[in-house]
């Protein structure tokens, strides 16, 4: 059972990881911690619902439209709302994105009402079953899809940031905005791109998790909380850190849920994370220097 739980934990953790990843990308380049992140994704899930279930579009097409919409919302938010106040204090940043969160929640309520809506799984066939001497591992197809897509996104992102010129330029902006301007890099454009990527990732996460949670205004709340925790655990500046952070939280949660207490699953997981942070305040892969806070 322990293997099965770890695998299930990795799949849950993969979702935490990409939420963390999206947060970290935006944070690294623009220094904004986006507390409305999950709720921006939620809007995309509603767009998907509208395209797929109401208008009756093709699944893939609806998927692409909702992700593109999420990217656009993210772009607009960064450009229109957050860019003008880039240098405010962390507390104010929390509040302003919190205001955004309330606003998005309200908009969703107003536009789509508060009934739960359903998005179907893309893959609904028989689960993948692996038998081996120690036991049996069952992975539902939708979870395989999640794992596949998340891995794909992570690999694509890492390749983009490490191999392409533009990706490297974005990393340059994250490390030193002023000097990157001196290289001729349009840092303002890079910031927008980082939010577009972040928004697309958030939408992807929302659409992937929606069949499980249903679509409703608060659907992303717990995913967002865990995504944040994962990002902090990973060091908030580090992309590999956020992935490791997300997956380890997923696994910790499942193991705690199995062997310690179901009721206190989240509590124990959070306690472990807080303990790690107290021992290593900069997170697992964070660096002690130059924290952007």
């Amino acid at each position: 059972m322990i293997f099965q739980q770890i695998i299930a934990g990795i799949i849950t953790g993969a979702l935490y990881a990409i939420v963390a990843l999206g947060l970290v990308i935006a944070y690294k380049v623009t220094g904004v911690m986006n507390f409305a992140y999950g709720y921006m994704g939620m809007i995309s899930a509603y767009i998907f619902f509208t395209c797929f279930s109401v208008i009756g579009m093709n699944y893939i097409f609806a998927f692409l439209i909702s992700v593109a919409f999420g990217a656009f919302v993210s772009y607009a938010v960064e450009r229109g709302l957050l860019r003008p106040v880039r240098n405010i204090s962390p507390a104010s940043m929390v509040i302003i994105t919190l205001g955004l969160l309330l606003l998005l929640e309200g908009i969703a309520l107003q536009v789509w009402g508060n009934n739960y809506q359903q998005i179907p799984n893309l893959l609904n066939g028989l689960p993948l079953i692996l038998k081996f001497s120690g036991g049996i591992i069952v992975i539902p197809q939708q979870n395989l899809l999640i794992l596949g897509l998340v891995t794909g996104v992570i690999i694509a992102l890492i390749l983009y940031l490490n191999l392409t010129f533009q990706g490297k330029a974005m990393r340059a902006v994250a490390q030193n905005e002023e000097v990157s301007k001196l290289m001729g890099i349009n840092s303002s454009l890079m910031m927008s791109i980082s939010w577009i990527i972040s928004g697309a990732i958030g939408s992807l996460a929302a659409v992937l998790v929606a069949p499980q949670t249903f679509v409703y205004p608060d659907m992303m709340l717990s995913l967002q909380i865990m995504g944040f925790t994962a990002a902090v655990l990973g060091g908030f500046e580090s992309i590999p850190g956020s992935i490791i952070g997300g997956i380890s939280i997923g696994v910790i949660e499942n193991l705690v849920g199995t062997y310690i207490s179901t009721n206190l699953k989240t509590t124990f997981s959070l306690a472990i994370i807080v303990a790690i942070l107290l021992i290593k305040p900069e997170g697992l892969l964070g660096s002690a220097k130059a924290r952007r806070v």
């Binding site: 606003l103 929640e105 902090v232 206190l264």
Partner: protein, 306 residues
Amino acid sequence: MKKYLWFTPFVLVPLPFLGYPFLISIFVLIGIYTIAAIGMDILTTWAGQISLGNAAFFAIGAYTSAIMIVNFHIPFLIAFLVSGFLSMLIGILVGLPALRVSGFYLAVVTMAFGIAIQQIIGVFQITGGYNGIRNIPAPSFWIFKASNPIYQYYIVLFIIFLAFVIISRVSFSKSGLALFAMRDSEIAATAFGVNLLKYKLAAFASSAALTGFAGSLYASAIGFISPSQFDLTLSLDLLAIVIVGGAGSVIGVMIGAAFFVGLPFLLSGYNFSITIIQGIALILILLFLPKGLVQAFKIGKVRKKA
């Protein structure tokens, strides 16, 4: 603003006699949130620490007081004081991480604390699990039972007044200025003898104590508590109240609390989502009135002069 401060009691004291008894219950609620938000204010505005977990202190205060009164029949006043004290002790424990982490990291640590406390309360028998605790009697002082909301209103008002008096005395004294100094520049504050350890813990302690007092009043005023009432939203609301109303001003916090607690009642008949208004208000206030709604009144005043 200061000039017109004397006017406030003349508005607040006779308020219950407007003739809308149910309104008083709302005023009581606004007052209780004001007390908790003053606690938040001390932490954020005064000491510059973020907390996304203050709902936990609210819960600790409410549950301590409710358990003492319902299960052990301890007089309200004692339960009230103990709940503030216990919150304070736990506040100090939570403050310890604040010495190691700051900014967003602290926000996440306190958020984790808030979520954990909510979950822990749901698990134990003595707290009534997810069922919560019911039939918590109204605040009483020996034979006097403040079951009428009017009495509760004056009790709450009195506590806010006390908090206001203490805050106004402290704000230009050693401890208040030391907190401000710590917030503005830790390095300079240290250089002039401010012990960061002591003041960070003191900020957490007093914030937790005030929030705990508010929780105790809440339990007795509402008469029913359950874990779902003390969720992340409450913590965020407390923070938002401070920001909207005006950081650092008791009157401002009151206005903020009225905005966040009172407005939903006002709009409960209409089919319009209150969060849109709250969200827009938060954003606009942060963009244009970084010192909160209080600043708007100030601006009005200056214009009149000019």
